[in-house]
Symmetry: C2
Subunit: 299 residues, 2 copies
């Protein structure tokens, strides 16, 4: 049963007059007659009892009207809701990423997103790890892709988009630098250079205070920026733990990246401010999540 048949039937069931029905539907009276006739053939019997001067519903038609009205109203409501929901996907979406490999994914997602939601303007900026949540909290940014998760109050931990294996970063002439792989157990003798500005939970997860066997690990010094860490290590002040992916973007003569076998993988996920997510932001979350799933090869 086609839409025009439903609408013609319901209109005629109300008007009980072919000409007025035709006028209401902006079609010719002949069309109403033929549409109803065809519908009645499909149903199998008359829905209207009619002469050239009178139109009335049969009992079958009466019940049909009642039931169809309910169902069709719900269908129209569904369409209306969907239309309204997409209408709200508009306005600028301000995005931030913490590291180049997050940025790469985000730029690809933004291309798809602009394609699908032409009404949306997308702006992307890099963020400083020294102030991971400042822009989000200040309302300067709507969504960020960065190290995950966080304990920051008011910040929502969205979906994880990808993970990277952990690595140990050492000076080139470090005792561990020749190894193919190291364990957390190997870290005990060396000071661990850490990064301030991370939320406490995330900090403890990334930088252990003891090796698996219980030996203490000294945290020293505490750097304020990522480049500061690179300098400290280059100077032989210690080692640090980070994503293996960093090697592709921050390799230097005097530094060596070594796979870290037993540290937890580094997770990168979406973060936004609780209650400040708009329809456009949610739509971008869907787009980038979908793209990341494709990258992971999941089905």
């Amino acid at each position: 049963m086609e839409r025009h048949e439903i609408e013609t039937f319901l209109a005629l069931a109300e008007e009980l007059h072919f000409a007025r029905t035709a006028e209401r539907l902006r079609v010719s009276p002949g069309r109403v007659s033929q549409t109803i006739k065809k519908l009645e053939r499909r149903i199998g019997g008359p829905l209207f009892e009619r002469s050239s001067r009178r139109v009335a519903l049969t009992s079958v038609g009466q019940r049909f009207q009642d039931e169809l009205n309910v169902g069709y109203a719900l269908v129209q409501q569904a369409i209306h809701n969907a239309t309204e929901a997409t209408r709200n996907v508009t306005g600028p979406v301000r995005l931030a990423f913490s590291s180049p490999w997050c940025g790469a994914l985000m730029f690809r997602a933004a291309d798809q997103f602009r394609d699908r939601y032409p009404g949306c303007e997308v702006r992307i900026q890099e963020m400083s790890l020294a102030d991971s949540f400042g822009p989000l909290t200040a309302g300067e940014v709507d969504l960020q892709l960065s190290e995950w998760p966080t304990d920051e109050p008011g910040i929502v931990n969205g979906p994880v988009l990808f993970t990277e294996p952990p690595a140990l970063l050492t000076p080139r002439n470090h005792p561990l630098a020749q190894r193919d792989s190291v364990s957390l157990e190997d870290l005990a003798p060396y000071p661990l250079i850490t990064f301030s500005g991370l939320s406490p939970g995330f900090y403890d997860r990334r930088y252990p205070h003891r090796t698996p066997s219980g030996a203490p690990i000294r945290h020293d010094p505490v750097a304020m920026t990522f480049h500061e860490i690179l300098c400290y290590i280059g100077e032989g002040k210690g080692v640090t733990i980070l994503s293996a992916r960093a090697e592709q973007y921050h390799s230097r003569q005097e530094l060596t990246y070594i796979p870290l076998s037993d540290a937890p993988p580094v997770e990168y996920g979406l973060l936004w401010h609780a209650g400040r997510d708009t329809a456009a932001v949610r739509a971008f979350v869907e787009t980038i999540s979908h793209l990341a799933k494709s990258d992971r090869g999941e089905r």
Copy 2:
């Protein structure tokens, strides 16, 4: 939003795979793609998040699926119910009428009915007033159009289809025969010939036992058939009350019909046996009721 769009969307929302959706709907994959694309343009934004290797619902699409499923299921149920209801309109419909003017309406209605329900066989017979409910009670007849109402147990008083003014039937040489109109008050001096076989309530309604002022009216003799009444009156044995319409079918030299001003109109309606009405019978009731309304000029 067209039916094929709804069905394509719902199928794809379940399958999340264009090729399988196309196979299920017996269309080509290209068609599914174009249909969804067009639907998304109409809604205003993406309902699916897709690459060439992955299909997922957006949050808008998710909600749309939930709501559309409910409404569309109701629409389909309504169609199914209507189809089933008309499927039952089949088999023979056996009709009876009590007088020629009832028969005239019934034959016209039967023509319309046969036209609208080709699967139904219609048989019409005249009934005897002497045994008004025998055929109905015995199950030989499904529906009858006759004097209305009745008190007969088990018989349903259906809708009144038309009414006729009452008349007094007298011999040509009767004292009242020259009058243009008579009142019930005029009947007191003359024996009233009545008709047995009527249900008690109807009998009392048609044949008063007293005039409006309280004078008794003698009921004598009590006839067994309509022709018997005509003979009695022709012989000068008394007068009777009947429908003015009878004059068109039962006029004789020795009889005179006089309008009866203050008797209740004679009602003709449909009667059937309680619980034995089929879908086909109800459909015929609708057809003949509609035709009678047209005859009455109601709108």
